[in-house]
Symmetry: C2
Subunit: 679 residues, 2 copies
């Protein structure tokens, strides 16, 4: 053991009627006959899906405390524990508890039949904060709320008190709530500098509402629960990514500039690209969702979902891709794990038995909003391989250098899968499997590091298989729960669980129920995007209701400015991305990650550190000329004015084009940052 390991240690204590698990001085688990830490029970769930929105109800029939523990210490100092309801009752649960150095593990070895619900209590105190649980869009610090963990549509509005949410609920069951996310994960990080991970894909609900304990609820007895501690949060995310995996670096061409989201065919792309370049916008790629065709629904512009080049909409695309590439501009497309009934991929897959079935043994058709698709059954190894082949042949070989690998959250809970497993268990597993399909296709093509795909859906394991996260479909508005602001906690929380490369649709996506994207929102979002690993615009679901980057000269010039900032920062960003690939320290970080002693830093969710040396406080409200920024104790220099500040709150001039950003005076990158005053 070295000195660090001496300082940080998990330790077990045996009690007369139980045991205690400590992380340093912090009690993590305590069991005694009067304070049982495990409850088991039986429930009957009722799950309804409508277009990716789930209505989940559980009729809980039993929930019993396992009060009595028979604790046996093994030779290797692990504890073998039999839990039962009563002193002489039969053991309901047998677990093995290990604590070694900075890690502890609860392995659940045997479970009495008839229980399908499980609760475990983790000790807590009032001051503690908790983070993670995948990508959380409303609350970075999750204390005070419970978080159902089930991959789904995140919702439109995501706040029952907003009119947009109410309309989305009433009209489409689609309003969502604070906890809805494409990317949940049963892993939380405590401000006590440990993480806790539950090894499960079952429905779970992590409840952080109680003052003295967290209660983790899982719809099975999980295989294991893991705790790991560290000296610092930096070390902690390193350990987290040691476990879950890390993203490779982004391709070099990423740093050429923004990825312009354009739809409408080859000519439109060419025209818009030319206009952008002529105005000085730095462009790294064009991202054309509709490269495989489009359809119009009442929701807005949707895609064809047959994953092949559509030469009607994109004539000469095969040649154009090469031409653009020569000019340093890559072409990105789109795919998702479903195939529309109208396409030949569907026909082939159905013939081969690659699609998931319904209870009657027929192809399961999922309603995606006025059109229907089959679900490629990745639990069938042949289907998995076939879909990799689709990606290789129709995307990679065709010349795509990136794509949105969309969806992954819609696995119905009444589907019949090839591997015979319960779809309720597989539902959460699906996003990481979908990521793996993409990963292997790219890897086997030898293109890892030159191709990048970005996903919104996630779960445990996505860290290893997904090259880039995007924050999903925000509303084109200023709302905290579903607008520009929501992207910041999303980046911070997913960074805490090891997805350190994050970005979002510049301008947001969802324009419904009267929501229309303003020019100002688009510009503010672009300002934030310049301080994330990747800048990418989206036209939105209703392009004609949304301000676009090429609407007028002011917008074009503003975007040119922000892409220049991004490109100027590229060496710095590249170093952060490299660090993320190497150690798992995310590119966008919460303030407390570098200012552990600053109590305020733990509750800040709308500012972030972009690497250690830049502090970014995006303007997320309309009509602001100034912005109130909190600076932890340090020597800071305002990026645009060069003004020096120390810690505390400062009100900074922040007109359009000048987002509130500060750099550390002592940064080794200070001279690079200082050049930005002249941009």
């Amino acid at each position: 053991m070295d000195t660090i390991q001496n300082k940080v240690a998990m330790s077990l204590t045996t009690l007369v009627d139980g045991f205690e698990l400590y992380w340093n001085d912090q009690l993590i688990i305590k069991h005694s006959s009067t304070t049982p830490f495990v409850y088991v029970g039986y429930g009957e769930e009722d799950i309804e899906m409508y277009r990716g929105n789930f209505d989940i109800n559980d009729y809980l029939i039993e929930r019993v405390a396992l009060r009595h523990a028979q604790v046996n210490q093994n030779e290797d100092e692990t504890l073998l524990i039999h839990l039962s309801q009563f002193k002489n009752g039969s053991p309901v649960l047998t677990l093995l508890v290990k604590a070694e150095e900075d890690q502890a593990k609860l392995e659940f070895i045997e479970v009495e039949e008839g229980f399908n619900r499980f609760w475990v209590r983790i000790e807590a105190n009032k001051q503690e904060k908790v983070y993670g649980c995948g990508e959380q869009l409303s609350h970075f610090n999750m204390r005070g709320k419970n978080f159902p963990l089930w991959t789904s549509e995140p919702g439109v509005g995501r706040n029952k008190n907003t009119y947009v949410t109410w309309q989305a609920d009433v009209l489409d069951k689609a309003g969502g709530d604070y906890y809805h996310t494409n990317f949940p994960q049963p892993t939380f990080i405590s401000s006590h500098k440990y993480y806790c991970h539950v090894e499960t894909t079952s429905y779970a609900d992590f409840d952080f509402r109680h003052e003295t304990f967290h209660e983790l609820h899982i719809w099975e007895v999980p295989n294991e629960i893991i705790f790991e501690g560290a000296n610092t949060f930096i070390e902690l995310v390193e350990k987290i990514t040691n476990r879950f995996g890390r993203q490779p670096e982004l391709p070099e061409w990423t740093y050429n500039g923004i990825w312009l989201g354009i739809q409408g065919g080859t000519d439109v792309v060419e025209q818009k690209l030319e206009k952008a370049l002529s105005k000085g916008i730095k462009v790294g790629g064009v991202w054309c969702q509709d490269w495989q065709g489009e359809r119009i629904t009442s929701f807005g512009k949707r895609l064809m979902w047959n994953w092949k080049w559509n030469p009607q909409l994109y004539p000469n695309l095969d040649e154009k891709i090469k031409e653009w590439k020569q000019n340093g501009i890559r072409f990105l497309g789109y795919i998702n794990p479903y195939v529309a009934v109208e396409g030949d991929l569907f026909t082939h897959a159905e013939q081969q038995g690659y699609l998931a079935l319904n209870q009657n043994g027929e192809t399961y058709l999922v309603d995606f909003g006025e059109f229907y698709c089959g679900v490629v059954d990745f639990t069938n190894p042949e289907a998995f391989e076939w879909y990799k082949g689709v990606i290789k042949e129709h995307l990679i070989d065709f010349g795509l250098d990136g794509w949105m690998a969309d969806f992954g959250e819609y696995l119905p809970t009444d589907v019949v899968l090839h591997n015979g497993q319960s779809p309720i268990q597989m539902h959460n597993a699906w996003p990481a499997i979908w990521a793996q399909v993409n990963y292997e296709a790219v890897q086997e093509s030898g293109k890892l590091g030159d191709i990048v795909y970005f996903m919104r859906a996630g779960y445990t394991g996505v860290q290893k298989y997904c090259t880039l996260i995007w924050a999903g479909d925000q509303s084109v508005d200023w709302s905290l729960d579903d607008g520009l602001a929501s992207v910041i906690p999303a980046a911070l929380s997913s960074g805490m669980v090891g997805c350190g490369l994050h970005h979002s649709d510049i301008g947001g996506y969802t324009s419904l129920h009267g929501n229309k994207r303003s020019k100002e929102l688009l510009m503010r979002w672009a300002e934030m995007g310049a301080f994330t690993p990747v800048m990418r615009t989206h036209e939105g679901n209703r392009p004609y209701d949304c301000a676009q980057f090429d609407d007028d000269d002011e917008t074009l010039e503003h975007l040119a400015r922000m892409t220049n900032v991004y490109v100027t920062l590229a060496p710095y960003i590249k170093s952060l991305v490299a660090l993320n690939a190497e150690t798992g320290v995310p590119v966008q970080r919460p303030l407390f990650m570098h200012y552990e002693h600053d109590e305020k830093a733990y509750d800040i969710q709308y500012q972030y550190l972009f690497g250690q040396d830049l502090l970014v406080a995006p303007v997320y409200q309309e009509g602001q000329q100034t912005w109130d920024v909190y600076l932890p104790e340090d020597e800071w220099i305002h990026l645009w004015s060069g003004e020096e500040c120390n810690g505390g709150n400062v009100v900074i001039h922040a007109p359009l084009g000048y987002p509130p950003v500060f750099y550390r005076k002592n940064s080794e990158w200070a001279s690079l940052f200082s050049t930005l005053t002249e941009i």
Copy 2:
């Protein structure tokens, strides 16, 4: 035993590992080790009240099945049952089960400490319907939903899919839901012709969502659960009211005509009354809420809440009351169980220690919407007597012949009461106690039968103490859950639990969030009112946003017509009211009460029988000239045209002034009814 008792019988069977309770051939309760019928548990509740709207959450820590039963048959054939979790576990619950003739009873004798949650399962089948649970405004047949039973504001809109409800929720936490009611009661009536009553005032939730059982959840182990069966539904309500009590007959003067709800002072009352009489409106009384003064809040017109004649607003009222009475028109006022801090009643009550206290021993002040009141503590016998005295002195002796005895649902759950009981236990008890205060005041004044007060709040026992129910505060609209229509299931459900005298604010009450009462709504509501025990108008909370009875000649003439119908029907109505007083058979009855074999009748909640001989199908939609009516198999005559119909659906001409009403051709009242064609 006579023959009827032979035909209808509760019976007990002992099983190897449990018992069965039958109502005739219908299994009501079954316990075996694999199908336990009782669960107990422990929960920690969190109850927030905001202006009578409660946000109730329960953190359920344990819920355990009591699988093992030790059943001992006593000499008197009752069963003494010890329930425990396991075969050799200590008994958690001891109960005595009796079944005799048409009654069965479960008495819970002993309970292990540490449990505060209780669930009992009643056997059910798919076809069964259930009714009752107090006054339910959205669902008469409660099958398929659960019904939390907690007296509260019923909500504005009462349907999460309506914009009014959403606004009320967001702005005032006041939207409510389908189960919110002023008058809950833990009593349900099965279509199998038995009722089940749980003797408790605790929070309860009756869950009728399961196909094979009903689950009754109560926040304590109740004293007893009672079942009683009958040959017919008529017999059944007779038995229900044998248990809970019955209302006295309405005063003779009731039948003189409508009670006009008027506010604004003596002169206004006089003018409006004169106008009404001059237009031929039959008037039985004037009902002046503001007889004790008024205040204006953002909600609308509110009252002073100091229960004494306000001579400033109502000069000469003492004389006027006598004058009106001589002309056959009674004066009705208003009171509720709270006293506003500004009044001398509050000062006196506080000095005497008659008001409930907060946790700090200070007077508990309840927010009623921009003004504050003390809660008269009826658990203090002196306070109870004092408030009776207030009613006697300031209402009865002053000359009031009736009043709205409003509220009763707001007992806060953190109040400190004189009797030391838990306010959570007393909360539901309060409405019946409040009714009792009124009842004793009237009774002790020797005026029972000449004075009538009407209440919206209720609970078990209100049957005995409340002279008339009114349906509470509907929205002034056509909504099913909170408008005109909602009053019909309200009347039917409260009738099933023994409150057979029901009426509503003609025109509704709540005008918020853009809801304004139309003239058509007012007229349709009056048409329905003519076929209820009492006709009474309300100006609404925002009189100037609401159509009023005296707005124009058409409205006045329409109301004159409907009051003439009511007065013409008076002999018939009187006979129904007398029957209700004698046997408990409600005045407004569901169709199945007289047509048991008609399967359709069990799901009809927007039509009713007014006595046995009139079928009323109020027009509850806007802009209708015709109306679709369902008639059970019988010989019916359309009240206005004299047209004869048999059973089935008929579309009837139903312009304003001609509500769809039919009478039985064979009715002994047929000649009276036939006179109405000429009105």
